[in-house]
Assembly symmetry: C2
Homo-oligomer: 311 residues x 2
């Protein structure tokens, strides 16, 4: 799969070898080329459509000082660290650049470059994971961060359990059927919390003890009562909202009759390949059917499936 | 991908709708058709190559009583629950059947049926996740189990944070190159902890903020210093030892010269398609090169690649 989806394909070097090299981390914290990116309550700082990042010298002018932080890697200018801010630090960061705001990446990421959206998603995901793991799950002891922010370690000397960042795999699938006349249609559903008229591909988390393909079959059966065959992988996309990776598939329906799980879905329907091009976009104010957001793998699956029809 | 790998493809119904139906769970605990499977220190109870499971009536004969447990789903005989045992309960369970033993599924799973190996892997994974999440990571409060054992909830009324089972996505990839004469070879490596002579495909955990394809490129570069293109998905396999899912790929090398990361690998080499059929099996006592274990996706990737050559 050559296609790079949004929030993926970051071109900086994660340089994992440096994470455990405390001397090198110390040196990078002092380097004039190192830049910090702030995270405040899971939000990233942007100005216009660009990430705000600053060197030590720039930060010291405003009284901000971030010794340490989470090591994100190296780009062509030097090292990158993210830092978790408190209220006061967030205020100081905002004053560094006119028009900068802490925003939910999910709301603005689609208008950013893929590389910066990926970097900010990475920073946000690590920050979220750190805030969710302040205490040890085994003994309740206080965790400390180590390995440049990429490992938590329990401070209880009888425990010392280490935990690594968590990413939850989720499958997302376009289910197609082809009728006796060769007309193709696909199964899309909606949840009540989405904007009016939006329909999208079904999705769900992978459970322990199942393959991705098992999860696709199970989720489509659970949510829509449809059996599927020929489960084919298409693409994957990190979705750090807060901690998923989306694994995209196409599958072929064996049944026609939809029976939705009303706990999961408000509605699900078959839409023909001739209906979908008439749909509006997520965010459109006009009434009527709408496609999922343009930066999502759901949209990529639908667009690819429509393009296949033409090709 | 039609192939079902070991530890996947379980044919029972996980029946997730029942997890939150406390009345139905109560009813199933009383049902004469319900069976329990014990887990003791992450080990499963087997006799011969079969899982040991027992009804309430059978358990009561030996003084064992398991009210509750983790809901695994429904098979054609009724409901299935797993239970975490203490030392005394484990002893009572072993006495229920001559020759039964608590064993590490990883050591014996390949000789079991795919369906039972998958069920025991599921039980083991949920048990591991529960033991690793006794306390809340956000506030340090004591967690309680809910939703039939599939959700932890913090008992601190100011927190009440819920957490779902964790599965870590990992990529595993066969890297191939084709020389000027059309001779195909693939990149295999070994870690010092493996049996002498075993070489296998490279692998590594997916990090936050990257796609599966990003992770394949990064891991091969980190571990072997090789750049790859044309990253193609092949298959996936749950690997509950303790909590991974393996996502299998083939990729094409752009470089030839291997530079290993000595923190990760002891050695890595190119092996030609004519050399690999001469390899022994994991577990063979004779010296010489050996392939990875037969129940692994690593072996599936290698076998599929060799079969492609012949086809």
């Amino acid at each position: 799969v050559a296609h790079t989806l949004h929030y993926a394909g970051g071109q900086w070097d994660r340089a994992d070898r440096i994470r455990r090299d405390t001397d090198e981390l110390q040196r990078l914290w002092q380097s004039p080329d190192t830049r910090w990116l702030p995270v405040f309550k899971a939000n990233n700082l942007i100005a216009g459509n660009a990430a705000v990042m600053r060197t030590r010298a720039e930060l010291e002018q405003t009284g901000l000082s971030h010794d340490g932080g989470t090591f994100l890697g190296l780009d062509n200018k030097g090292a990158l660290f993210s830092v978790e801010c408190d209220e006061q630090q967030a205020h100081a960061w905002r004053k560094l650049q006119v028009g900068s705001e802490f925003v939910d990446l999910r709301a603005v990421g689609s208008s950013m470059s893929t590389d910066e959206a990926c970097l900010l998603g990475y920073a946000r995901a690590l920050s979220h994971w750190q805030t969710q793991n302040r205490y040890c799950g085994v003994c309740g002891g206080l965790n400390t961060l180590t390995a440049g922010g990429h490992v938590t370690q329990c401070s209880n000397v009888d425990c010392q359990r280490q935990v690594f960042p968590r990413t939850d795999p989720a499958v997302i699938m376009l289910v197609e059927r082809i009728d006796a006349q060769g007309q193709r249609s696909c199964l899309l559903g909606r949840t009540a919390s989405w904007p009016e008229g939006v329909y999208s591909t079904l999705a769900g988390f992978v459970e322990p003890g199942e393959s991705l393909e098992d999860a696709v079959v199970r989720e489509v059966a659970e949510e829509a009562g449809i059996a599927v065959r020929d489960v084919r992988y298409c693409a994957s996309q990190p979705w750090p909202f807060p901690q998923s990776i989306m694994l995209g598939f196409v599958a072929t329906a064996v049944d026609d009759d939809i029976v939705i799980d009303t706990h999961e879905l408000e509605d699900a329907r078959w839409f023909s390949e001739s209906e979908l091009p008439l749909f509006g976009d997520w965010g459109d104010q006009a009434p009527g059917f709408k496609l999922p957001r343009t930066d999502s793998i759901a949209r990529f699956l639908i667009d690819s499936w429509l393009a296949d029809a033409k090709g």
